[in-house]
Symmetry: C2
Subunit: 354 residues, 2 copies
């Protein structure tokens, strides 16, 4: 299977970078907006093409932790539930919350199987280096999700021999990952047994899922429609936890945090690697899924998501201002001179308005 094989199926340009008035670079991609009944409101580009959602579906993957009663059993608070859905910056506050969460399951950093990387935000990495430290698995952007998996493991094994039981929890056939995959399958209504499977950055499986199914899943978690009651309740609780603690979802200078700080429960959005971006607009009962073909998250998927929020969420002037700065921003050079712009294309904006 090789999506995007042919030039005949080239997706439209959704985001463009201008230098002066001239387009310097361009990002193609697709965006689907669906309601929870599966009705497509927007289909720009090939929305049936399967994409690896990567971290964009962390909220769906956290559903079993809540549905199983694990969150209550371990008395996880909203910060901890929020970071279970996060791709965080590995800032000191994130590390602290993940450590606390692991401790509730009687575990520590040694149980995490997500691997280690330097925090991606330069000031955060620099601060860590300046303190003479190296990063560990707690700094990994996925450490909260993995702490959630370990808490789920704790519940599934009834707490006995947890370290032993949890070992290898990232493998597709481990009971933890089976529960996680089942939740993903239920929310998207898509048979993952037949889907191409890859290994994610943090070593858990990731399944290629059609973009419109991802949008459907995010419409469902905003409305509960099409989900079984336990999943619907769990999704609502997770969304509200993130809305309470948007810093936990990402961190300093991050799109998801900025948007959810500004808009609260009206938008639940979650970025994934390789420029997948999903969101739920609960007030409108809609779900959104974006994939930028070239995988550029920060420069393209975020701009496209900002344009989608502008198109579908009622914003007051201040909120509109926040969003406009994310969908149409001046580019400045090292001397602070405005040299161009990064913005959603007319084609994307027209597509969003049907």
């Amino acid at each position: 299977m090789a999506p995007m094989d042919s030039d005949r199926t080239a997706n439209p340009v959704l985001v463009e970078a201008l230098r002066g008035d001239t387009r310097e670079s361009a990002h193609r991609g697709a965006i689907a907006v669906l309601d929870a009944d599966g009705k497509r409101l927007v289909a720009v580009g090939d929305v049936e093409r399967a994409v690896f959602p990567r971290s964009a579906v962390k909220v769906l993957q956290a559903i079993p932790l809540v549905e199983s009663g694990g969150a209550d059993r371990l008395a996880l608070d909203d910060e901890e539930l929020a970071i279970a859905c996060a791709s965080h910056n590995g800032e000191p506050r994130h590390v602290e919350v993940v450590e606390r969460m692991l401790a509730k399951a009687g575990l520590d950093v040694g149980a995490l199987e997500c691997g280690t990387h330097w925090p991606r935000l330069l000031p955060v990495a620099n601060a860590l280096a300046a303190s003479g430290k190296e990063p560990n698995a707690l700094n990994n952007n996925c450490s909260g999700k993995h702490a959630g998996f370990l808490c789920l493991a704790c519940v599934l094994c009834g707490g006995s021999h947890l370290r032993e039981y949890a070992k290898g929890y990232v493998a597709p056939r481990h009971p933890v990952m089976r529960a996680v995959t089942e939740a993903l399958e239920a929310a998207t209504g898509y048979d993952l047994q037949k889907a191409p499977r890859g290994i994610d950055g943090c070593s858990i499986p990731t399944y290629a899922i059609p973009l419109d199914r991802l949008a459907l899943a995010f419409a469902r978690i905003g409305t509960g429609t099409g989900l079984r009651p336990g999943h619907a309740r769990a999704a609502t609780r997770l969304r509200k936890a993130v809305a309470q603690h948007p810093f936990m979802a990402a961190g300093s200078d991050r799109f998801d945090t900025k948007v959810m700080e500004a808009l609260g429960e009206r938008v639940y959005c979650k970025v994934g690697a390789e420029a997948v971006f999903c969101a739920s607009f609960p007030e409108r009962g809609l779900g959104v899924a974006i994939k930028i073909d070239d995988g550029n998250t920060a420069r393209a998927a975020e701009v496209a998501m900002a344009a989608a929020i502008e198109a579908f969420v009622d914003l007051d002037d201040e909120e509109a201002d926040v969003l406009r700065r994310l969908s149409d921003m001046p580019l400045r050079n090292w001397n602070g001179i405005e040299v161009g712009a990064l913005r959603a294309t007319t084609e994307l904006r027209e597509g969003l308005h049907g």
Copy 2:
């Protein structure tokens, strides 16, 4: 003017990122390979589309420094000439050479008008932070080019009132920038008066130039054909200086440095921002120019350039191995597990073999 406007002109996919066996992301673009007489050997994608070459043409922009006699007058050595053509990492050795070069003109960091940014290579930035320092303009990847401009200013004004004279050297109408633009125009044979002009990251002008004209210029600097004798001599001297000191051209863990360390004078290559990449293969008398539409340099333009080198430069087994690791590389996750590959597409490889 808005290149890349229409889906009908979508460039082919030159580089693909796979997760497992499934294509996860794809980079479209164009590549031109020309000889110094202007004959096109390769034209994949729209090679007549104008692109901002950004830093890819630094060697052309350094020609006036040498042709004017400035390099000799100030007794610039090969390390200094190499860094005048560089987009370097801002590592301590780079900073040292730029400082030395400025001192030869009687100047210091205060004369640089390139602005300041943190070194982009994380260990370099971390080391700077760990030493309690902040970056200055010497760490800017363009500081060597700007030191070259200041040395040219020194020669143009005869050394008197240099600081005064040099002020604003980044402006299009300053004598320094006029000389630089004239050299670019001569090498490409393209009328820059009519070309869209933007402001580069380091504040000098950048002109949109058709991709095939950039390839032509790089064929010319490898052969001397089509250049006036002073320019041809200057270009040869600059190329040889870089071949002697490839670390100065970029730095640790950088494509340009790795390739020129392996291949010496057989390849002169130079990356630019927004995924423009130019190279000269002097033995073959060829020039190459690449633009990846989405502007992803590290992940796409470099892979495409590695494939071009494989197609046109005779390589022994060890060299072939170096290049293959740059054009078709395994992708590993945070646990070091191989999760996919980044590679030149069959379409690109077939296009390169005409």
